[in-house]
């Protein structure tokens, strides 16, 4: 129950300028839904990149499912990444492939293609996000919210133990955003998936989070329950709440 899925210790990441993450520490237990808050540019996406091994820290350790992803080669990362579903900010769907091909991408990339599994999982995941009838469309023919749901379906293939969502509701109208959030919630409830949701929309954060962290100047400056975040009287948090809640 209290197994730790993710452990970031003293992580430092920079891109030439001042470090984006600095002495960054975070530990996420299994089955938790963690919402990551922070201003734009505070390093939220960078943190997700580090967890996936897409970005390598200059210092510190990144442990995911007990593996030191910061020390693994791209090839060695495959089995770790196979247990993670990543939903990129704008979906990052492959433009030239249909919805079904996108969703089944992982299956198509297996050394031996399993057509039956492809059909079954694509259908199942698309039904889960409510887009089964869109399977033959191209990403260019979908709305922003539909793209995100397809991206979620794609990330769900292989039933990952950990889902990472980069601003899944940004740019969506409230009704569409709700639909996406419901999907995220159901994934957690039905599969017990550990979830990290990056957002700057506070009311959505309160809606799904077990735990909230706030990143500022490369560090975690708040870590607690949504209720505690709502009640915190630290001046920056008060300001952050008033700016983001509108």
């Amino acid at each position: 129950m209290t197994a730790v899925d993710i452990d970031l210790r003293n992580v430092e990441i920079g891109f030439g300028g001042p470090p984006v993450l600095h002495e960054f520490n975070l530990s996420v237990p299994s089955s938790q839904t963690l919402v990551v808050l922070g201003e734009s540019g505070s390093g939220k996406s960078t943190m997700l990149g580090a967890i996936l091994g897409l970005i390598r820290p200059q210092r510190g350790e990144v442990e995911v499912f007990g593996e030191r992803v910061d020390a693994l080669s791209e090839r060695q990362l495959h089995p770790v990444r196979a247990r993670i579903g990543m939903v990129f900010q704008y979906g990052a769907l492959f433009d030239s492939e249909t919805v079904a091909e996108n969703v089944g991408f992982r299956i198509r990339q297996q050394p031996r293609f399993d057509a039956a599994r492809f059909e079954r999982e694509v259908q199942e995941k698309l039904e889960f996000v409510g887009l089964a009838e869109f399977r033959d469309r191209l990403p260019g023919e979908l709305s922003g919210g539909q793209k995100k749901r397809v991206a979620i379906a794609r990330a769900l293939v292989g039933d990952p133990a950990l889902m990472l969502y980069d601003e899944p509701t940004t740019g969506l109208d409230p009704i569409t955003a709700r639909k996406v959030l419901e999907v995220i919630r159901r994934i957690r409830e039905e599969f017990g998936t550990t979830s990290i949701v990056v957002t700057h929309e506070l009311h959505y954060a309160y809606y799904i989070a077990d735990r909230v962290i706030l990143i500022r100047n490369g560090r975690v400056v708040f870590d607690g329950t949504p209720e505690a975040f709502r009640a915190a009287d630290d001046p920056y948090i008060v300001e952050f709440r008033s700016m983001e809640a509108e």
Binding site: G49, L52, L54, E74, R75, L77, H78, R81, A82, I84, M86, F88, Q89, Y90, A92, L93, F94, D95, S96, F105, R106, Q109, P111, F113, R154
Partner: protein, 260 residues
Amino acid sequence: MKRDVVDPFGAFFRNLLQETGFAMVMLGGALRSIPTRPFPLRPFIKQLEQAGVRSFSIIFLTGLFTGMVLAYQGAITLERFGGKSLIGNAITASLLKELGPVLAALMVAGRVGAGYASELGTMVVTEQVAALRAFGTDPRQFLVLPRLLALLIMLPLLTVYANAVGLFGGYLVCVYSLDFSTLYYLRSIEESMTSQDVIGGLVKSFVFAGIIATISCSVGLNARGGSEAVGRVTTRAVVISSIMVLFADFLVTRLLYVFQ
């Protein structure tokens, strides 16, 4: 920054060396990734088709005008020295060994290479390349290899096509403007065309294809920033691969000269 203004030539060369270095590293990775996964056959076929379709008409026009110009130039020069019968030599030597491969490569760099850089650049800035990696696929294997292989096949074919159209352009000028007979032109071409020239030209175009595909893909994959980065890498890919094509042309010509 200041140095770039004072010393634009040095900055350009640093850039050229750096991009070439990146391209070599990427190529190494792409080749090493070959045995790890099923070969991306469908993307490969699509790239073959794209490279052909994108280049067909510009290569036609390039070949045609080059052949026509060569015929006039050849006629003017040869008339002066009284060697009209050498017109075939004048055309085939320049076309097959040099202008066919090089002009086709430069056109393809501007068309196909630019396409590679902008496609891959777009995929980087929209995080599609990150998504490939996150789903356990090596972008060099999935994106670069099919493009590289497609161009290695298509550019030599396009060069043969450019050469054929060029000879046809030469024919138009010789027969309709310079009053050669068809038979005379054909015989002159036949006598002057050596398999060495043809093979030399194809060797060149094979090398050029490798350069264009590798550099354009590498520059595209190194795009950083937003959508404005795509335009930047596209221009950069064309400029750098064109210059490297001309440089390689010099080296290969030198090498072939040694073997002759």
